[in-house]
Symmetry: C2
Subunit: 242 residues, 2 copies
DNA sequence: CGCGTCGTTGATCCGGGTCAACGGTTGTGG
DNA sequence: CCACAACCGTTGACCCGGATCAACGACGCG
């Protein structure tokens, strides 16, 4: 049975900006159902045109693109609260695929209603655009990382971002959070080889900066890790929840 | 004296989706002025909160981020028809800087009117979000390039994208277009060193694939270049004009 | 028990970075 | 009118971070 938006556990998390009571009602009406999937399930395919949009409610996924010669770029990670399928809703075509990495539950919306939704709910339309801007912000940072930083800096940046995101949605308990991704996923996100990613991860572990093993990510001192990454501990920007 | 939206030379270009007569009137009312700048002029600064939004009418620019250790990532190039400053309008902070690379003319809009604009013109709000999705699409492709492709492929990809974009807005005459960027700009966009970019450019030139010199980019066979880049000659996606 | 997936580690190689020097052009001031 | 500096493109020599290749162990599953 589907979660009522009113009872949505995400809304309370510090990552998200407040929603008015009427926003909540609006989303409840827009929401047409809930979807549960197992790890490995493809949710959206690059180049396709899904009839549905999603908001991740529980679980994690990866967004990735595939090149002509078979290489893979992980473009972003999906966490609870992320909106999925916007491109398909606007440009009629996804520029990347989305694949679940853990068990997931997703809120489902109808793509065909998106335009009328924009007309009837301009504040929410504004928020959707805001989400797109947040995504653009992240991609710019990722591009800068892959283009300019060393493997060690990159890895520190990625794990720090993941961890901060997890913290903002209540996934971190006792300086640790569950992480269902594989090393290959991170490697493909950073444009590094699996082997080098593994070795660099080992170095970070030896330096007591990060411990990621058995599906658990532990970070004791985020400040120190940020220093290695070469970023100020600037926060993940707050955003609306759809 | 400012160009009237009605007479806007960009609207006719094949890159842009059609605007209704009322859309044109709407933009005319939203537009508060025009700005002309010389090469090198900063238009927006990373981290700042500009009171103005722009649409590039003539000329080119670069969007870039700077890392703590002083390196620079060029995140995208700005061509006529690009909308600038959306992030600042939504998140109150730019995630990158924008700097003119040629003489430019820009249409100016007031950031403070953006929200009411969303309420009164939902179709145009939809189009703004569409633009954000196009940007996301591009950044994903750029990330894939920097993360997965070789220097030669990257360079071919970048020059091809620039050229196709130029073609779609009428900048290409006789298989050539003006390009005010420096080699350093392209290098910083692709995460390559200037030296290696220069040498790779030389190779492409020898292979008769690309000739970029004296501020002119010439490409005779885009198909062949696309093959080198490892992309299908997929088009630059059409988009709205703000 | 055998097979597929994922993490780990060592050996070797190479694409591209870094360093250095030079030439052409433009602009500026004496 | 010329000296000089600043900027950009170009080219050669050398080196290193990370890719590639290869092999093995641990685990879960049919």
């Amino acid at each position: 049975m589907a979660t009522l938006c009113e009872n949505c556990p995400l809304r309370k998390q510090p990552l998200f900006v407040g929603m008015s009571e009427s926003d909540v009602q609006t989303m409840q009406k827009f929401k047409v159902g809930e979807l549960s999937v197992d790890p490995g399930t493809p949710l959206l395919i690059e180049g396709s045109n899904s009839p549905q949009l999603f908001t991740a409610l529980r679980g994690m996924a990866i967004r990735y693109k595939t090149t002509a010669d078979g290489r893979r770029q992980v473009v972003n990670f999906v966490f609870p609260g992320d909106f999925i399928g916007l491109q398909s809703g606007l440009m009629n075509e996804m520029s990347h695929s989305v694949e679940a990495r853990s068990k997931m539950t997703l809120c489902v919306f109808n793509r065909s209603e998106l335009f009328s939704f924009f007309k009837s709910h301009p504040e929410r339309a504004f928020d959707i655009t805001w989400l797109a801007a947040v995504e653009e912000h992240f991609l710019g940072e990722a591009l800068t990382t892959v283009g300019q930083r060393t493997a060690k800096q990159s890895l520190a940046w990625a794990l720090l971002r993941i961890f901060e995101r997890g913290r903002m949605i209540g996934l971190v308990r006792n300086r640790a959070m569950d992480l269902p991704f594989r090393q290959q996923d991170i490697a493909d996100a950073l444009g590094l080889s699996l082997v080098h990613t593994n070795k660099t991860l080992g170095h970070l572990r030896e330096s007591q900066l990060v411990n990621w093993s058995d599906g658990q990510l532990t970070i004791n001192d985020t400040e120190k890790l940020a220093a290695v990454a070469g970023v100020e501990t600037d926060l993940v920007p707050r955003r609306p929840l759809m």
